[in-house]
């Protein structure tokens, strides 16, 4: 490969990416094994039975099949687009080696091509890893030509990357460099949740039976379809001509976007580099200077949370899942549909716990000035309490009206849900204190989640408390059993202050 060529640069990106994967695997070898075992289990328990079942089913190109394939691929496209919008904005901001590349004789367009090819490749690999355990057994057992589905995934990844780039750069031009990053994060959360909200539309608007899917399938034969609408289904079924047409269209789209926007990329990226420094308007809001270490820490954490676009988009995603749930719960409570209430209360408890877990993970573990905290004459317990209080405040603000209305409509269910939400938030907060992983806030965009152990613990404890809430809401005395399970789990994984300190020292070595 000629040094400086597109392929050479792509190989460089892939080498860096691969070394990043190896480094992460080195940090947390167990999570790699957990992922591998999960893939194997899904393949065996879901993929293989699905393949055996599909052996007897012959798919033909019918209007219903065409609509189904187009809709599924549109959903995958929207999920991929939600990733690329944020990733495209990140490319503009994550300086990394961009200054080095732009100061070299390599053209900005080439840098853009390689960076976005890397995004498309990453998307393709992630979605292949999720869909592979289903697609591979189906193809191997039932329909070998269906392996072409991976080609269709590649087509969608390339197209979504091109669209994500156009969206990010349009936002850059319209709202400026700084807001682009924030809006891109929020937009990616909204697009990601869009599909879920659409599927919930019928439930939200009061149609309990049926689904959006069944409506769509029933209407499909009557939808007038252009000839091109059949291409995705044909490509999925292994038609090389259809796949070639789609691939050519996606690559042409990607190339056009590169040619069209490549020249602007370097200029926008340079502007984004200075944006961190210059675009925040100086606004002298009054500050309180009151309340001691606890209040000062709470104020600091709330400010930092509110100013963290990436964090807010993650939280917003979970809130978007929570709101329809709360809406349905309140509607059922208002309609005295008591059978549906316990499940809703349990789900609300679980999701509330997850939001509290995300926020407490950030407030407890993300700390830019640990030495400042350590040399302050304040007990560490005060900081922990303040950080948890800051994490719980947004959750409380979100849930209080929902729980208040629920308690008015159905007092038993409302009280059970309130107790469940408080318990699961506290439990997840404690887990995040016991298994904290202090790091600078900026690093949390890369590390995102907490350790697999604390994530698993939060899920198990949250599920146990949610089950207890559901049973309590149904008036079942058995509620005490999952509540006890949650308590025992918490006692089993509890860490004393000395153990936390020891774990932190070991991690720092």
């Amino acid at each position: 490969m000629r040094p400086g060529s597109t392929l050479w640069l792509l190989a460089h990106e892939m080498r860096l990416g691969w070394r990043g994967v190896l480094a992460r695997r080195g940090e947390n070898r167990r999570s790699g094994w957990v992922a591998l075992i999960s893939v194997a289990l899904v393949t065996l328990l879901a993929g293989v039975p699905l393949g055996l079942m599909m052996r007897r089913i012959e798919i033909t190109v019918t209007p219903t099949g065409i609509v189904l394939a187009d809709v599924v691929l549109a959903v995958i496209f929207s999920l991929m687009l939600s990733q690329t919008v944020a990733a495209a904005a990140d490319v503009l901001y994550d300086r990394g080696d961009l200054d080095l590349l732009f100061s070299s004789p390599i053209s900005p367009r080439k840098v853009l091509t390689v960076r976005f090819a890397a995004i498309a490749l990453n998307l393709f690999l992630v979605f292949s890893a999720f869909l592979g355990p289903f697609l591979v057994p189906i193809a191997l057992i039932a329909h070998p030509p269906w392996l072409a589905a991976f080609g269709v995934l590649a087509v969608i990844a390339v197209a979504a990357t091109a669209c994500g780039l156009v969206l990010a750069m349009a936002m850059f031009a319209a709202i400026g460099p700084r807001r682009t990053r924030t809006i891109a994060q929020v937009l990616s959360a909204l697009i990601g949740a869009g599909f879920f909200l659409v599927t919930q539309a019928r439930t939200l608007f009061g149609h309990a039976a049926g689904s959006v899917w069944s409506d769509l399938m029933a209407a499909a034969p009557a939808i007038p379809l252009p000839p091109a609408a059949a291409l995705p289904l044909k490509a999925l079924m292994g038609d090389p001509g259809a796949l070639a047409i789609l691939l050519a269209a996606a690559v042409a789209m990607f190339a056009c976007v590169n040619v069209w926007l490549g020249g602007r990329f370097a200029a926008d990226s340079a502007a984004a580099g200075g944006a961190e420094a210059s675009a925040v308007k100086a606004r002298t809001r009054p500050v309180a200077f009151t309340g001691g270490a606890f209040a000062a820490t709470v104020r600091k954490e709330l400010r930092l949370m509110a100013r963290d676009a990436a964090l807010m988009s993650q939280v917003m995603l979970r809130v978007l899942y929570l709101l329809p749930l709360a809406f349905v719960l309140l509607r059922n409570a208002g309609a005295r549909e008591t059978l549906a209430l316990p499940g809703g209360a349990a789900a609300l408890t679980f999701v509330a716990g997850q939001v509290a877990a995300s926020l407490s993970w950030i407030t407890v573990s993300a700390e830019d000035a640990p030495d400042l905290i350590a040399c302050a004459p304040t007990p560490v317990s005060t900081f922990r309490q303040a950080k948890l209080a800051a994490a719980f405040m947004p959750v409380a603000i979100l849930l209080t009206p929902i729980l208040a209305v629920l308690t008015m409509l159905s007092p038993g269910v409302g009280l059970a849900a309130t107790a469940g939400c408080v318990a699961t938030a506290l439990a997840n907060g404690l887990i995040n204190i016991w298994y904290q992983r202090p790091a600078k806030r900026a690093e949390f965009r890369r590390r995102r989640g907490s350790s697999w152990f604390s994530t698993l613990a939060e899920l198990l404890v949250g599920a146990a408390i949610a089950t207890a809430t559901g049973l309590a809401a149904a008036g079942q005395p058995w509620a005490v059993i999952p509540a006890l399970v949650a308590g025992v789990l918490l006692l089993a994984i509890r860490r004393t202050d000395a153990q936390i300190a020891q774990a932190l020292r070991a991690a720092a070595r």
Partner: protein
């Protein structure tokens, strides 16, 4: 008068001894420069004094308070400013000072007045509403210094406070430190800029391999070396064995 800092028989070993039976006394109201080559144990010593690192053995007293037995009482008396500013990128300088004042429990009106005074003195008042993420290295360093001074510490410990500062900012910091010592505070600083120690310090200590090689006023060090005209750089290089001639 009680000494500001008394260190006796201090030891800390990581893979090798970083601080080795160190004995050091800093008098109240003086500016003490702790010098040493890279890896000499300066930062480790100061981190132990600030309560950020637990010594293996030894005694640390801050204005008579045993810092190991009662760290909270000791921490109330001191401020620590490391070479890398401890800041929050997404807070403004004023919000940062509000947070630090809260940590040390400074009364609201006092904190408000002192924040304005410090930010004005360090030339940051006009920037008080901007987030620190866009600040230059020097502005960040000055904001962190304002944070260290917000609770009016009796003992101020500064690790390389002038690194990365331009001439104007360095002058502001030096003036501020001189003002603090005139007002009765004690300042301990480490620096590789020997002219700063030579011009500002009341006393100088030179540390190597975790041990104090020598300490005293510049004249005392010259007298020990038997060269009344020697610069601090000559003395330092001579004492630490780094005075090999460079090839022509």
């Amino acid at each position: 008068m009680t000494d500001a800092l008394v260190i006796k028989g201090l030891n800390k070993t990581f893979r090798a001894p970083a601080v080795d039976d160190l004995n050091l006394t800093v008098r109240s109201g003086e500016l003490y420069a702790l010098l040493g080559p890279n890896g000499a144990g300066k930062t480790t010593t100061l981190r132990m004094v600030a309560g950020l690192l637990k010594p293996d053995s030894g005694v640390i007293e801050i204005f008579g308070v045993d810092a190991l037995a009662d760290p909270t009482a000791a921490k109330r008396l001191l401020a620590w400013a490391p070479d890398e500013p401890m800041l929050y990128d997404r807070l403004t300088p004023l919000e940062y000072l509000e947070f630090v004042a809260g940590l040390w429990g400074v009364e609201a009106q006092t904190a408000r007045d002192r924040s304005e005074e410090l930010l004005r003195m360090l030339g940051l008042w006009e920037e008080r509403g901007r987030r620190c993420e866009g600040f230059s290295r020097g502005m960040k360093q000055k904001t962190a210094l304002a944070g260290a001074l917000i609770h009016d510490p009796k003992l101020l410990i500064l690790d390389e406070p002038l690194t990365g500062l331009d001439a104007g900012a360095a002058r502001q910091v030096k003036d501020l430190l001189s003002a603090r010592t005139r007002a009765g505070a004690t300042v301990i600083l480490t620096t590789h800029i020997l002219e700063v120690a030579e011009r500002m310090a009341d006393r100088i200590g030179i540390i190597q391999h975790g041990r104090l090689l020598t300490e005293g006023r510049l004249e005392d060090l010259r007298a020990q070396a038997g060269d009344g005209a020697a610069t601090l750089e000559d003395l330092f290089l001579d004492l630490t064995g780094q005075d090999q001639a460079t090839p022509a």
